[in-house]
């Protein structure tokens, strides 16, 4: 189901209300390959059939706000985080990152509200709230340092396949 369709009464229900799985496309579309996540979310909305209990959101750089809402409020079974990463792999390579591979809990991660998706919050959502966390990442070609930098060809080319994988992750479960 597309995000807009979930706002049934037009009165601003949470876009993810009642969703079993939520796909969150994270990134800054103005900063090159950082726009991978929003690109995947948009591709899913425009090209793929979304099951009614799946919510897809292009959250840009606002993902922390939504994660905070999930901390104690209504929760899905599963979150699929789609984001760019630099793990030294081949540019455009799409792969899953186990949450525990993001490293230890870092107290500084709660320093300010502008950083995300924070691994601290993701750990808490899994450990405290029992939400299954799946992370789908794309290896960046380079890190953009200036606003207005577009996606590199390698990362842009990976979006359609990544979108299929993201939806598959949202539908299936590691518990299945």
């Amino acid at each position: 189901m597309k995000a807009a369709d979930m706002d049934k009464d037009g009165l601003g229900l949470p876009l993810w209300a009642g969703a079993r799985s939520i796909i969150l496309g994270c990134g800054n579309i103005l900063l090159g390959d950082d726009g991978f996540g929003p690109g995947v979310a948009r591709y899913i909305e425009e090209n793929l059939d979304i099951p009614p209990d799946i919510c897809v959101l292009d959250v840009g750089t606002t993902v922390r706000k939504i994660l905070f809402n999930l901390v104690l409020g209504d929760k899905p079974e599963r979150l699929v985080i789609v984001d760019a990463i630099d793990r030294g792999r081949n540019p455009g390579e799409v792969f899953e990152v186990p949450l525990d591979d993001l490293g230890p809990i870092l107290r500084s991660d709660d320093y300010v509200s502008h950083l995300g998706p924070t691994s601290n919050l993701l750990f808490d959502l899994r450990n405290e709230r029992g939400i299954e966390i799946r992370i789908l990442a794309c290896q960046v070609s380079e890190t953009a340092e200036y606003l207005g930098t577009p996606l590199t060809p390698a990362v842009e080319a990976s979006i359609p396949a990544a979108a299929e994988v993201a939806l598959e992750l949202a539908v299936s479960s590691e518990r299945d």
Binding site: D7, L11, G12, L13, P14, C26, G27, N28, I29, L30, L31, D34, L57, V59, G60, T61, T62, V63, R64, K65, F68, N69, V71, L72, G73, I81, D83, A84, I85, D86, V97, L102, G103, I105, L106, R107, S108, D109, D110, Y111, V112, S113, H114, L115, G116, P117, T118, N120, D124, E128, I135, A137, V140, T143, A144, E145, Y146, L147, G148, T149
Partner: protein, 481 residues
Amino acid sequence: MGKTITIAPVTRLEGHAKVTIELDDAGNVADTKVQIVELRGFEKFCIGRPVEELPRILTSICGVCPWSHHLASAKTTDAIFGVTPPPAGEKLRRLCNAAAFTEEHILHFFFLAGPDFVMGPDADYKERNVFGIAAANPEIGQKVIRNRHLGARILNIVSGKSIHPVTAVPGGFSKPLTETERKASLEMAEEVLEFSKWAIAWAKEDIFPKYLDAVKTIGVIETGFLGTVTEDGTMDLYDGKFRLMKPDGSYEDFEPADYTDYIEEKVLPWTYLKFPYAKSWGEGFSIDSENPKGMYRTNTLARLNVADKLATPLAQKELEEYRETFGRPVQLTLLYNWARLIELLHNAEYMVELLNDPEITSKETRVPVEPRAARGVGCVEAPRGTLIHDYETDEDGIVTNVNLIVGTTHNNGPINMSVNQAARTLIKDGKYDEAILNMVEMAIRAYDPCLSCATHRLDSTIAVKVKIVGPDGEEVATFTN
């Protein structure tokens, strides 16, 4: 040569701030630096674009405070086009500003700064977060979540899109509010108001009294303040004139468009972020915490200092009580958090007031615009401080120049000063430990700084590492969190 303690991200690309504490040979603090990465290329990105696109584009600069940039940009385009939005258009913008403020202030107090106070700065880090609050006070946790969410829902109703908004346009607001939407929003706003009343009462009773010693000592500096007020000195978070107050409480008021006559930005070689200072004071520039020059702060503490009064009755009563206790102007940095709760109450009251205004459902929400060569300045008070947008366009309405000063930039000097003060207070005779990190963090966190909304890739968490380096450059010890 003494030692250097660095509280730093692993790499510049992964983090956005670096705190360096330099000790002299006696082990006392000789110098501190807070280096904040500023988003670059902004001006280049905007130049050449139609100015009416900027209110929409700029929301992608910051995912946490998009409404502030969205509204400041819309106001700037109003000035560029030489138009005034109709009353309903302005009121809808004001309503969105107030709703965004409630969402942000709840988030900051309860999720970020609050746990330090609720659980205590000495509590185990694993408990000093919102889960700790929820575990200790389940009812409070649920209240916090719900009311923060109500702010977002009001924004969704009023603007159709709370994430990366698009509804404020040159000349007004693109979406009128229906009566059904007004009633639904009003019901939610009234609930947020009840929560806000509870929040400040609870904090005054159960939280702040326990930490008054910390409030009176951590990060305390002396600066001036900048905020926005109406002609009669009432705080106005959407529009008005700037009031620049000196540390002694004297002040001057001026039109935001004239800000360059009063504020200049200093560039220092060790950081990308500039240092605005009050050049109109004629004392020059210095971020020495013991002898500051030209330093002023913005954000909640500053706004409550510069305003003579608040427009809403319950918040005004709280302000009077706050001033009876702490005076005016207040310099205690940790009182940003108390001031934040007063502002939360004010914005909740204001939402209810606007939603009871019959004019807010008028269908006349925007006026037409025509491109022209012009300069426009549009300012709002963002949750994090005074936000200034300044554009120039050619005769086709294409952007030729852009300058932004965001809330955190204004506070860059004071943040450095507060860290310096906190470090000097806590580190003596070469003695330091991990607890110091938290105190320094509290001083910075009070400002709710926007440490850039640039890359935030999945692996871009900040790893705080305190590295102690001996005079020979060899690492002596490391604390990591």
